[in-house]
C-alpha cells in the first residue's frame, strides 16, 4: 500500500510532544456510479478521497490545498461525518468517529464547527442574528436558558467586531464580510476545539479578506483553536497555516511544514501550483518563468496509470506511468509521493 509509511508513522506518533486532535488514517471516500435500466449496476466509483492519512495538532492550522475536484472539500465533509467514509479511520480527540451513530456523534459535532465559503448560503435568511447564534448553544446545552444564551451571543458579536444591536437584524442586512463574522461567531458559540475553514475568504473583497484572516488568527491564539483550512489560494495558505497537504485527484502528493514545502517543493504539481500563483510585484512577476502545465485535471473516474500526475508532468520519467509512487519523508516534517525523491537522494 502506497501510503503505509505515512500511516504507520501517523499511528506510531505517540511520542510527539504536541497533542494530536485530529488524525486521519487511510481514509477513503468513494461515490459509486450506477448505470442501467430497472436494475442499477455499480459500474465504477468516483474516488473523491483515496487513501489519505495525516494528523493535526492542537493549536495549529492545517491547510489542505488543491484545485477543484482534488478532494479537499470532501475530506472536510467526511471528517465532519457530513458524509460517511468508505473506509479508514477518523480520530477526533482520540476517538475514532468514522463509525459512530448519530447520537454518539453529537458531542463531536459540538467540538467541530465549520465556516463555509459562502456566508450567504450558510445563514438561514429567516432567522435573526440572535437566533442564529443562540440556537446551537441551546441545542448543545452550552447555556441553561435563553437569557444566558443572549448574553453570550452579545459577547460573541462583540468579539467578532459587531454591535449588540445587530442581534435583531437578519443576515441580508449585512455585508459579505459582516456575514462571515456572524458565521464565525456562530461557529465559536458552542466552544469548539476544531474549526474547519472551507475557503472562508474567497467570496470576500481583498480589503475585507485581511480583516477576517486577522480575526481568525486572533481567536486561534487566544482560544487555542485548531483550524483545518481548505483553500486553493496558496498565498493565504502560506500566511495562515503551519502545515500543508497538497492534494491531487484524491491523494496527498506532498505534505509538511508550510515554509518547507513552499520554499522547497519537491513534487512537480506543488511546484506548478506555486509557480502559477501570481505574486503582487510586477518586478518579480514579469521576470518569473512559470511552469505551465499542459491539459486539464483528468476525471477522477478514469485516473491515469501510475502516478496520476504523470500525463501533465514536465519531469515525467519511465516508471511514472507504471506504479503510483510511495510516499517518502525527506525531512522530519515533509513527505512527498514522487519518484523525484529517489533521484534527489541519488
Amino acid at each position: 500500500m502506497s501510503n503505509n509509511e505515512v500511516a504507520e508513522k501517523v499511528q506510531n506518533n505517540v511520542a510527539s510532544k504536541d497533542e494530536v486532535v485530529a488524525r486521519v488514517v487511510n481514509l477513503k471516500k468513494y461515490f459509486p456510479i450506477y448505470k442501467g435500466f430497472l436494475v442499477k449496476k455499480r459500474v465504477g466509483d468516483v474516488k473523491a478521497i483515496d487513501d489519505i492519512s495525516f494528523e493535526v495538532r492542537r493549536g495549529e492550522t492545517f491547510a489542505i490545498v488543491g484545485e477543484s475536484g482534488c478532494g479537499k472539500t470532501t475530506t472536510a465533509r467526511t471528517m465532519l461525518r457530513l458524509t460517511d467514509p468508505t473506509d479508514g479511520k477518523i480520530e477526533i480527540l482520540g476517538t475514532d468517529i468514522s463509525k459512530l451513530s448519530r447520537e454518539e456523534l453529537l458531542p463531536f459535532r459540538r467540538k467541530m464547527q465549520i465556516v463555509f465559503q459562502n456566508p450567504i448560503g450558510s445563514l438561514n435568511p429567516r432567522m435573526t442574528v440572535g437566533q442564529i447564534l443562540t440556537e446551537p448553544m441551546l441545542f448543545h446545552k452550552i447555556v441553561s436558558n435563553q437569557q444566558e444564551a443572549n448574553e453570550r451571543a452579545v459577547e460573541l458579536l462583540r468579539m467578532v467586531g459587531l454591535k449588540p444591536f445587530h442581534m435583531d437584524r437578519y443576515p441580508h442586512q449585512f455585508s459579505g464580510g459582516q456575514k462571515q463574522r456572524i458565521a464565525i461567531a456562530r461557529a465559536l458559540s458552542v466552544n469548539p476545539e476544531i474549526i474547519y475553514l472551507d475557503e472562508p475568504t474567497s467570496a470576500l473583497d481583498v480589503s475585507v479578506q485581511a480583516q477576517i484572516v486577522n480575526l481568525l488568527l486572533d481567536f486561534q491564539k487566544n482560544m487555542g483553536l485548531t483550524y483545518i483550512f481548505i483553500s486553493h489560494n496558496l498565498s493565504l495558505v502560506r500566511f495562515i497555516s503551519n502545515n500543508v497537504a497538497v492534494m491531487y485527484l484524491g491523494r496527498i502528493v506532498e505534505m509538511g511544514d508550510v515554509n518547507e514545502v513552499f520554499d522547497n517543493p519537491i513534487h512537480p504539481y506543488t511546484k506548478a501550483l506555486l509557480s502559477a500563483s501570481p505574486i503582487p510585484d510586477p518586478a518579480i512577476e514579469k521576470k518569473r518563468k512559470r511552469i505551465i502545465l499542459s491539459g486539464n485535471v483528468p476525471s477522477p473516474i478514469i485516473r491515469p496509470n501510475g502516478c496520476f500526475f504523470n500525463p501533465r508532468c514536465p519531469f515525467r520519467m519511465e516508471q511514472c506511468d507504471k506504479e503510483y509512487p510511495q510516499t517518502k519523508s525527506i525531512s522530519e516534517n515533509h513527505q512527498v509521493a514522487c519518484y523525484l525523491v529517489d533521484k534527489r537522494e541519488v
Binding site: 500566511f239 510585484d281 518579480i284
Partner: protein, 332 residues
C-alpha cells in the same frame, strides 16, 4: 505614440428606485496601442462598469451621463459615446472585443463552438461560410486548442473551463480587434489553468499588439499582465501610474494599504494589514473622497470636498489631499 482610446470624464450612473447609484464618476484615461492597462478595484469600485461603458453595454436603468470615449483605430477620431446602435454593431467585436469573467456562461449552450465563431466572423468580415470556417479554425488553433477542426462541431458543455475561456478569447480576437477588454477573465479558473490562460493572453497580446484593458481584483494577476495600473475605489480613479510605480511607490493611502493587506506565496509574512470598515454603497454619494471614512490619513477636508486627480510625479496620477510620500510610511 498617440493613444488608440481616450476616455474623458466618463460618468455612468444607475437610476434605481432607492436613489442614483453613481457607479462611475468622472473617469479619464488613455490607452496606447499594444499597451495593457490594468484596472484594479473591489466589488462595486466601478471597474467593470467603466469598461462596459466603453463597450456601450450599459442597460436600463443605467446610463452614461457624461464623457467621451474617443476611438482612433480607424484613422479618425470617433466618439463611442455618440455612436448609433447600428454603428456599434460594426465596432463591437471587430474594433473592440470583450471577454467576460465566467467562461462557463459566456458561450451560448445551444450552439456549437464553430457556429459561434463563424457567426462573429461573418458579421464583421466579407467572407463566405467556407472562408469563415477556415478563419475560425485558425482562431482556435491560435488559442492552442488541439484538433481545432474537430472541435468546431463541439458544444460548449463538452469543454472544460479553461478550454472554454480559450474559445471565448478566440472569438474575441477572431477579427483582430485593436482593443481587447478583459473583465476578470481568469477569476473563475483554477490556479494552474489561470496560469495557462494568462500566459496565452500575454503571448497573443504581444503578438497582435492589441491595446488591452485588463480588469481584476487580484493584484498578483495584475502584476503579471499590466504595463500601467489604474486603481479604482468608490466609482473613482484613485491612482493611475505604471505598474512598477503603483506597486513600489504607492502614493494613495488606499493603494498603500491594499498592497499590505494581501498575503504572498513567496515569502512568509508576519502580519497582514487590515483596512477597517466596509467598501461604500455608491447611492447618492456626495462629491468627496470615497475612501475618507476608512482612511488613516484623513484630513478634515477629505469629507468635505473631492481631491483632484493630480499628476503627482510624471505620469503618476493620484487623487488625494494627503498622499503618502514615495517609499514613505502610511502613518504619520
Amino acid at each position: 505614440m498617440e493613444s488608440i482610446l481616450s476616455v474623458r470624464n466618463l460618468s455612468t450612473w444607475f437610476f434605481l428606485e432607492e436613489g442614483v447609484l453613481k457607479a462611475v464618476n468622472d473617469v479619464s484615461f488613455e490607452l496606447a496601442p499594444n499597451e495593457v492597462l490594468g484596472i484594479v478595484g473591489e466589488t462595486g469600485s466601478g471597474k467593470s462598469i467603466t469598461v462596459r461603458s466603453v463597450m456601450r453595454l450599459i442597460h436600463h436603468p443605467g446610463k452614461i451621463v457624461s464623457g467621451e470615449m474617443i476611438y482612433r483605430g480607424r484613422g479618425r477620431e470617433e466618439d463611442i459615446a455618440k455612436m448609433s446602435d447600428d454603428e456599434l454593431t460594426h465596432i463591437r467585436g471587430k474594433e473592440l472585443s470583450m471577454i467576460f469573467q465566467d467562461p462557463l456562461t459566456s458561450l451560448n449552450p445551444l450552439y456549437t463552438i464553430g457556429d459561434q465563431l463563424i457567426e462573429t466572423i461573418m458579421q464583421h468580415q466579407d467572407v463566405d461560410r467556407t472562408g469563415a470556417w477556415r478563419l475560425a479554425v485558425e482562431a482556435l488553433d491560435k488559442v492552442q486548442i488541439p484538433e481545432p477542426e474537430k472541435r468546431m462541431n463541439s458544444y460548449p458543455f463538452e469543454f472544460s473551463g479553461g478550454m472554454k475561456q480559450r474559445v471565448v478569447i478566440a472569438i474575441a480576437l477572431s477579427c483582430n480587434p485593436k482593443i481587447l477588454i478583459a473583465d476578470e477573465p481568469t477569476t473563475a479558473l483554477d490556479v494552474t489553468i489561470q496560469a495557462q490562460v494568462l500566459d496565452l493572453m500575454k503571448q497573443l497580446q504581444t503578438e497582435m499588439k492589441t491595446g488591452t484593458l485588463f480588469i481584476t481584483h487580484d493584484l498578483g494577476v495584475i502584476s503579471a499582465m499590466a504595463d500601467r495600473v489604474m486603481v479604482m475605489y468608490g466609482g473613482r480613479q484613485m491612482e493611475l501610474a505604471s505598474a512598477e510605480d503603483v506597486f513600489h511607490k504607492p502614493t494613495h493611502p488606499y493603494t498603500h494599504m491594499l498592497l499590505r493587506s494581501i498575503p504572498r506565496v513567496d515569502i512568509k509574512q508576519d502580519s497582514l494589514e487590515s483596512i477597517p470598515g466596509q467598501p461604500p454603497r455608491m447611492i447618492d454619494v456626495p462629491d468627496v473622497c470615497p475612501f475618507a471614512p476608512r482612511c488613516p490619513r484623513r484630513l478634515d477636508k477629505c469629507s468635505k470636498e473631492l481631491p483632484k486627480l493630480d499628476e503627482f510625479e510624471p505620469n503618476h496620477y493620484v487623487r488625494c489631499f494627503n498622499p503618502v510620500e514615495p517609499g514613505g510610511d502610511l502613518y504619520v
